[in-house]
Subunit: 360 residues, 4 copies
């Protein structure tokens, strides 16, 4: 039997034993080593996101070792030879490659994206010591010697930022970038801007601890949402970027108010990558003529593609010795302390909370 | 002396005599044959747009013959040999090629874009029988035998639509396109979608006459803003384009309410080209998470570039014998009937009003 | 039992009975109505292309009706509901979605692309009255009332041209295009240029019958490879396109000599789409500095993606009443005349040869 | 009078006094501090490149202080306020903004690009202590405190590499890059790959000193053209980049043999940026089908645009404290040692030779 953090009813998580299943053809069974806790897990605990049955295992960020490979599997999803014992990192999204979005738009999310399964069925969820990756779930070999902490430290926020910024046109060296929000997606966007050679990276948040972390991974400037008025923030951005304004604004705040401010901060012929507002239901007022007067582009983005998980994995591995990525992990729990782990996320002092299956 | 339609004070237009000037080096003097009347002229008459001195000559859409070329000029701005007597079509915008927007962003509008000059100074304005094109104002030779009416029929709306759709990623053959608004910009977007091989072109407006014209130049479907509810319009668009929605929505309505409807109509991984809202001051409420959930792109656009005028000219010339472009001209006046001309635009029955300098 | 045109040994084709297989989960069994004969079939008969076992069924271009659907299949690969009796058109390439090319490059061809199976095994090949489409082989519903002849008339050359021109940046309305070669790929490129609004479409070949067909489907100019010297061809292209040269050259000739001529014909800041040279082994000499002096782009392309098959299908359907696509079919045979069918292709008078399973 | 290095006849350079001219409207007079020597200067001395009159001043890479501004000039070409005494860096190319290439293609080089003027006429050339920048010649303010040596160290090779890689699609973080040639353009491409976050940067040359410099500014691997066979180089590239090959190859070698090797080294769906072959007259043999089989893109590029000079300037300024850019300068001469300066370039031990006008 495996052990897992199981959501049994709204707000109630228990550590339970769950069955281990043989991998299907094209799939794999993974012995999980680290599992990241994401804000979405909290949303799910409080039943604010998605529809799903109960009980279910939580967690969609994981690293582990191949325990068993399904029939026909001798390579990972980047074509690298793979064998039992190798470490892998995976994307929790299976594309059907057969719906209009997958095949004709070559976009995501897949219209038939796999849903969460009950806890007593095969599950790829990562807050458990075994994960069952179905056929078609992309997993990638972790390079030898890589820092696992660095890879898990930004969790799914890293492929999210990599994917969103990619579809929003990427970042050219020398560009100026504003990041709204210094949560995991904002920090990941900061890292992407850093590695891409952005000349100025201005991060806005109200949490000083997070802004400090942002500086450690590449922010050149940080602006306090509390201490500065919108006008002062606008002026600070203009001072840093020049009168034409920033080349790119990345929304990673998840608050409706971020949208009109993002448009206002945006530069002439600038781009706005909206990555955080998927969960922010509701409307907000803004002035659309600004889009026209500034020749402005806005790109919403969700559901990074498999290639973005691959690029995120290698980005974390490559940057691990240049910036203190692993230090973003502030809390580490064993599966037996599941409730504590989820509570830590909401505590406000956490940057990243993870499950470490080596903690008993 | 030349004759010109001159705005002398708010709401008051007179036909006056104005001086003719020698062309400057790099410029040209044009004997104007046709001058289109644009909604912006009306805005200017009522002092709703731009700041400018009085009195000024109106009009920014024109075709005429070269009367005299400035020093050094033996080619048009596409490198074609040009001589006195050749017909030309021009863009009313001079780029300084020296500001951040011109040089570094390679975008428009130029930060130092030329302003309107008083009526007794050299003026490139087109509601006159002579136009003085300054150095750097792009003009292009009109091919021999081209229909002048076809070129002027959509006025500056044609380069606007050509440029906006271009920067919004263009239209691939087989794509599905929704056009909000069947005024000149919407009709021009319809023509661009037609020539680009769009499979479905759905035009929305409340004016039946305009919707009928839209069909003549390529709309495959028209939807009445009055007769259909937003939900019915959404359903009609989905029926025409498939469940994934249209590939491109073009906003050419100029009303704030168009923005949230455009986002709602937009398809999965779709694009939204916002071309008409430059003049619509004020805010509007919408749900930004839709941008994220649909992986949606929005591109505001104004100020087409010189190349878009060139492409628009040739588009009109090439399409003149395939669709009844010239028929969009519903009213034609001489300079002596200037007040009547501007009144016709607001009359509601006009599609396009032009000055024809051959009418005395 | 099904009937099929089977290659039994080099140069020897027989019509044989072969088994019919149940569809696998995710696959489909198709009762084939039309099967196109492609030059590649001839290459295979003479064992000039690919490695494969014998005996095998020939043919990779087909249209037919769903005879039986595999488990889990109720939609085609564009998400359209599908049922027994519906007509479908398919791509003969299955992507593994698990190799580096599929997942990380999002390109093609898949590194594990399915190979040809022996004639007594399940086969998707189209020179048979039944085709067995494996799981993951993209098929698309043919719209009701569509002309099947129009869809098959350009065979796999249509998705090839659609895909190649797409990855080479597409064609904007008003652009000038040169097509080298008026075989199926060249004719398909001509059709794509036509629907995309190209202003001039200049097709070069030495076969007058083919050049005539090219005119019927959109060529504005045709140039004889035999009658004109390279310099005369260059001059003719410049006359048609202007001194800056064509925006796009499409290589669909399949001869090495096409490459240096294509580079020479290419325009300033122009693009060169190389689609036909996949089979032309060997080297050719050219002057690479021309690439630099002209700021020129060259894009090689093979293996269109599933979306290009979808777009090609709809392109043929939409253009069927605008250009005489179906007339490109010059020869039509039943399966019992297989040897005649392949002989007709090499006869030189054929534009398109097809198998029509209704001919007994 | 100014002092200048003047080419008086083939192979003969003299330091001469030349007149100083007042700046024209829109232009500037610059007191030059540093002037880089480029391989093109050597070509010109031996009359291997361009057509031009004699005598002429040499040099097209310069930095200096504004001595006098022409009428109407109070900003540089990026819109920054500029005044007498400010340091500037300039592009030696004036665009007419009126030819087909400038206006319609928005490409370069301008068809009317300014030519070299005789030494007794106003000249923007940089091997002199005064430079006369004509109207429209883009110059940019050098940030306060910037290292002038770092800016001039790669000379015009830096904007060349910035521009070429830009038009070839840029470099995304995590990509793998091969650079053919470690001369100034190759070193500049290495720097661009470094700042852009390339994961592997493999530089190929036969000069060990240059390869060592390449490592200092970002190469992760260097391959000797002499010591390794083509097959060994191919294997080394594959080892570093994975079986799919590099994402980008940059040709900065200037030898015809580089082209076929670059195509052979290129990866699946890879890009090839050809920047160095503009001067390599003559043909070379290669296999074009490789372009097709690899879905490969080739982009030739010359004549960077004004924005690339701006980006190059800021790149050098920003990287000056991260990599030892200024150390690339191996030789420094006063104008009075002009012949020695040009001789040093051909000596083979030089990486970069400059004129320093403070040396008397």
């Amino acid at each position: 039997m495996a052990k897992a953090a199981v959501l049994v009813s709204e707000g109630v998580v228990e550590t339970r034993e769950v069955p281990i299943f043989e991998p299907e053809a094209g799939g794999a069974l993974v012995r999980i080593e680290l599992g990241g806790v994401c804000g979405t897990d909290l949303h799910m605990i409080h039943r604010l996101a998605y529809e799903y049955p109960l009980p279910i295992i939580l967690g969609h960020e994981g690293i582990g070792r191949i325990e068993k490979l399904g029939a026909g599997m001798d390579r990972d999803h980047a074509g690298e030879p793979i064998k039992v014992g190798d470490r892998v990192y995976w994307s929790p999204m299976v594309a059907c490659n057969q719906c209009y979005t997958c095949t004709i738009l070559e976009s995501s999310p897949c219209e038939k994206a796999a849903h969460f399964a009950e806890a007593d069925k095969p599950s790829w969820c990562s807050h458990a010591d075994y994960g069952w990756l179905p056929r078609g779930m992309p997993f990638f070999k972790v390079p030898e010697g890589a820092s696992l902490d660095a890879i898990i430290a930004l969790g799914c926020a890293l492929p999210t930022a990599v994917g969103s910024i990619d579809v929003a046109g990427g970042i050219k060296f020398g560009e100026t970038v504003v990041v709204q929000g210094a949560g995991p997606v904002g920090l990941a966007a900061t890292l992407v801007a850093n590695v891409s050679g952005a000349r100025r990276i201005i991060v806005i948040d109200n949490n000083k601890i997070r802004l400090e972390r942002a500086r450690l991974i590449g922010a050149t400037d940080t602006l306090s949402l509390e201490e500065l008025t919108p006008e002062e923030r606008k002026n600070a951005v203009m001072d840093a970027c020049g009168a034409s304004g920033p080349d790119l604004v990345v929304e990673a705040a998840g608050h409706l108010s971020a949208f009109p401010e993002g448009v206002a901060l945006g530069g002439q012929a600038g781009r706005y990558c909206v990555a955080g507002l998927w969960g922010a239901a509701g409307e907000v007022s803004f002035e659309p003529r600004q889009l026209v007067l500034k020749n402005f582009s806005v790109r919403g983005s969700m559901a990074p593609r498999a290639k973005h998980y691959y690029r995120a994995l290698h980005l974390a591995v490559d940057m691990a010795d240049k910036v203190p990525l692993a230090n973003l992990i502030t809390h580490r729990f064993g599966l037996n302390q599941a409730a504590d782990a989820y509570a830590a996320v909401t505590g406000g002092e956490a940057v990243k909370v993870i499950f470490d299956m080596s903690i008993s």
